[in-house]
Amino acid sequence: MDIINGLAHGFGIALVPQNLLWCFVGCFLGTVVGILPGLGPAATIAILMPLTLNMDPAGGIIMLTGIYYGAKYGGSTTSILLNMPGESSSVVSCIDGYQMARNGRAGAALGIAAIASFIAGTVGIVLLTLVAPAVARFALSFSAPEYFALMAFGLSLVVLLSGASLLKGLLALLVGLWLSTIGIDLFSAQSRFTFGRSELLGGLDFVVIAIGVFAIAEILTTIQHRQEGTLIPVPKGFRNLLPSREELKASRFAFVNGSFTGFIIGVLPGAGSAIASFIAYGIEKAVSKRKEMFGKGAPEGLAAPEGANNADTGGALVPLLTLGIPGGGTTAILLSALVLWGIRPGPLMITESPDIFWGLVASMYVGNVVLLLLNLPLVPLFAQLLRVPTWILFPVIFGLSIIGAYSVSERIFDVELLAAFGLLGFLMAKTGFPSAPLILGFVLGDAMERALRQSLMMSQGDLTTFFQRPISLVLLIAAVVILLLPLVSWFNRARVRAISEGA
């Protein structure tokens, strides 16, 4: 099936009334989640995932992905009106977005954010449509050693770009690998790390870990740092949300910059939309002829990061859908959802599950339009959500988390694990350990061990098999180089310090 036919097939699935409804629900929930500080898309998808398992897989993944990209739209509202990012990728939008609002241009700022999100989101999806089939074709030549090397490469990027120290990122990743090996070993039937508990023989459930580490830990962290902000009122009326001609003119290159920067960064496992928006902002400022306006309410300083964090979604789905490698916490949860529905993302997904692949891609085109329609006229209504008190919101999130964890296997043991992983996530946040590598280590650990052991079985224990195959050799060298980069920069800094102290 070529791209045009595939996309036509996908629209046939995405435009079925039921799937349209799920797309709308996902976009709506995503917008709400993006607006509400303290609850990210990863936590929401993790909480809702068990409830979608009885749904048709196409409808389920359309809704969950809608939450993912919908949150990117909603996050800007909180950044602009409250100077508090509703979502990590909206941090940069605070810089010029909030200043625009303080300068009396709140409506225009919300309008620019929505337009940038729509343009970049659409470009990201177009690029996903064009790039994904080619990547999948290339990946068809992979066998076990290439997969192991690819996962090692992906995980090396994750820890490097996870934002915390390299050591902490690596340690979080290794703990994730450990968690993935708890239970019965499929090759030998040996039980591993079960502490004598029969409940652990089947292994840990991803949903429980994800809800604990993301949702419960987020609640605990937010409760600890209770923050209050000053909400800037949203101007009423659709016309007040439209940016002026000058503002649109100033933003036109930022839309393009945000679109391509976001997509490229999104494709890299581990980079994440927060980094995409930072880089797009940096590029925009570097090439701008009016750098002095940045930080004071420059519309292009809002358009670039807002565009980037939306185009990032299309990019992030390329490695997820074509290689089965998630680039961050949220895509790891989407991967798990697909696996639970019996769909294995990877090079064969396009041919084996065309309904899911093309239906999802087409639904993103539809969802992007839905979000534009939702976000422009309904922004004043969504902004009222910021007035929902946390003493109502947090018990509701707790309830959803408990039900989400319990409904996986209908065991109280899973709720106990949820509490344990919530505490673990909170302590990780307190001590500066990133949680995304832990989740990715857990998601990829099982497949990584399987690929490693299959490779060594094929080569009869000869480790050089990984270095005799060109693709795996290149990927492993790249992984080592990436892991060594921080050491090189540390060595350079130490050398410069020694020279300056000597002089």
């Binding site: 340690l171 290794l174 450990w178 962290t221 409760i223 003493w391 947090f394 018990p395 707790f398 209908e410």
Partner: protein, 157 residues
């Protein structure tokens, strides 16, 4: 502040030590399983290697914390904030422990009550009304409409 107190408050040293202990445990367990079999690597192969990596990296983390020097100028800990988070977590743990005996409805209502009244310092009456209302909405949506099975208590709810 004493040096011991500084070490205890340095998160990198404490977490590094705990992770080193975890890594040692993993190595000790993995070494009891087959490392290599006639069919290829055994169940101990992968855990042994990541266990070794955990020990090495956690020791590096501790070493790095000691090398850079234990900071004497820690930011003051927001004990009130930490207390709120811990009380929230403990309330969750207790509610979970009570759930098999009291059922979801009663245990979750008590959890909401604790959060709203103690953690968020809302008046008792408002906390009771909100807790009952939130639980009732959950019961309606998930049990009645979505037909999910949640733990049932002695009152049959």
């Amino acid at each position: 502040m004493s040096r011991l107190g500084s070490i205890v408050r340095d998160g990198d040293i404490v977490s590094g030590a705990l992770l080193a202990a975890l890594g040692t445990y993993i190595i000790s367990r993995a070494s009891t399983w087959d490392y290599m079999t006639a069919n290829g690597p055994g169940p101990g192969f992968f855990p042994l290697w990541y266990g070794i990596c955990i020990v090495a990296l956690s020791l590096a983390l501790v070493g790095h914390a000691l090398f850079k020097g234990i900071s004497e100028t820690h930011e003051p800990i927001d004990w009130r904030g930490v207390g709120r988070a811990i009380v929230t977590w403990l309330a969750f743990v207790i509610a979970t422990a009570l759930m098999p005996f009291l059922g979801f409805v009663i245990a979750f209502t008590l959890l909401c009550l604790c959060l709203i009244h103690i953690v968020f310092r809302q008046p008792l009456l408002r906390a009771i009304v909100a807790s009952v209302a939130i639980t009732a909405v959950f019961k309606l949506i998930f049990v009645v409409l979505l037909q999910l099975d949640l733990p049932i208590g002695p009152l049959g709810i």
